[in-house]
Amino acid sequence: MLELSTHIVYKLQRTGVLVLGCSAGGFELLTHILQALPPTLPYGVLAVIHRNARYETHLEKKLADKCAIGIKAAADKEPIESATAYFAPAGYHLLVEPNRSLSLDVSEPVHFCRPSIDVTMQSAADVYGPATAAILLSGANKDGAMGMMSIHRAGGLCIAQDPRYAEIDTMPAAAVALGGVHLILRNDELIIFSKQLSNYTFRN
């Protein structure tokens, strides 16, 4: 069990969606986090990783066999279900509609990225407000820092991989520097944290 301060626990109790952002050097850890998430996770997960639209990766299929939660490529206008992770498809931004369904969008790349982590985090914060939680992992650019800031401002919970343990620290370090991060966790702590996420039941 990872001991968490009461204000973090309070935020976890009202969490309604979890956004995972990951880029260069973070993929293995992301896999471990997804594997650690319990099948009773009371909310959905939006996973945004930077990947090249040119290569069909079958990533979701490979992960689905390893994880207790559902793993899917996000489909347009699909409702977000609990205990399911939706991956932003390569070449599309992933947005959240006020009715808590997903939308895909081919508008301009952000930080040269589509999907962009900032875009999904901002959109999730627009809809879920303080019920948004996010984890940002290793990466070589600053995508996610602004998004974490939006979630922070909306009253949500922002967690960054400890930049000292990130394969490429630029992305989590940028988020920490911008000031939107509540909690910095090492790789092993992130796994323990993920395992215990169904322990916090919703309380109004």
Binding site: K77, G91, L95, P98, V106, D126
Partner: protein
């Protein structure tokens, strides 16, 4: 400045009242991003936006131009074009006249890509391609047939992935930083404005592409638009949606058979 979904609903109502223009079926998440962008571009707040919409003639058109997402590419999703060549063209070849409609064509790159495929299959001379979009500014650009030369590198890569037997550079002339689409490729193309929500059927087509347009609408309007596309197709004509767009309703699914599951190519059978 931060705006809320409440502001978006207010805006939808205002545009409906003042201009009888229906934005109600558009994705709220996308509208919100676009409206925030407009506020930044024009350096105004939400009240300023409403003021301009009501009081500045001509501003509504500028607003419409920015509210839509017009990002496009030549040969976007190369395997899709390969499938058009290999799975659709043999059918099209059996028609004496081939009418093609690219609905939501943005700046025309998709239209020119289709023209290239048709011409390489020896079908262009009996084809006519209509490119339509709601956005007047992108239609004007499409008509010019001028593409940023820097983008041609990516487009050539896309094109090569369709495994063609020629090179993209044969279809344009480079002038300074512009690629000008050759006349032979433009002669059987017509660009014009058309609103998929409020305008109706205007012809009967053998092939319709409506790619990366439906994602900007809610499911009810997606249905409405696909019904219009169905009504605009000849029997055994083809409907091509975007790589992440499928026919949602069973009712419509029964009227098509699937030609390509990955790239959402359908043939009308009823």
């Amino acid at each position: 400045m931060a705006i809320s979904f409440g502001h978006i609903e207010e805006l939808i109502a205002l545009v409906d009242n003042v201009y009888s223009f229906d934005l109600g079926g558009y994705s709220r998440a996308s509208l919100k991003r676009r409206v925030s962008r407009i506020l930044t571009i024009y350096d105004i707040d939400f009240a300023g936006l409403k003021y301009n919409l009501v009081n500045s003639p001509g501003f509504f058109n500028k607003f419409l131009i920015e509210i839509t997402v017009n990002v496009t590419e030549m040969f976007r999703d190369p395997p899709f074009y390969k499938s058009v060549r290999e799975e659709i063209c043999p059918y099209l070849a059996t028609f004496p006249h081939i009418k093609v409609w690219s609905a939501g064509c943005a700046t025309g790159e998709e239209v020119y890509s289709l023209a290239i495929v048709l011409s390489e299959q020896g079908l262009y001379n009996r084809s006519f391609i209509y490119g339509t979009d709601i956005n007047t500014a992108v239609i004007e650009r499409a008509k010019q047939g001028v593409i940023d030369l820097r983008k041609m590198k990516t487009y050539s890569d896309n094109y090569l992935q369709t495994e063609p037997n020629s090179s993209l550079s044969g279809y344009y002339t480079a002038k300074y930083d512009a690629a000008v689409i050759r006349h032979e490729l433009r002669k059987n193309i017509l660009f014009s404005t058309h609103n998929l929500i409020s305008d109706g059927v205007f012809n009967e087509f053998q092939l319709i592409t409506c790619r990366n347009v439906l994602i900007y609408f809610d499911t009810a309007f997606q249905y409405k638009i696909t019904e219009l596309l169905h009504a605009s197709l000849t029997l055994f004509g083809f409907l091509c949606l975007g790589a992440k767009e499928t026919l949602a309703s069973n009712d419509l699914k029964n009227k098509f058979r699937i030609i390509n599951k990955t790239y959402n190519i359908y043939q009308k059978i009823a």
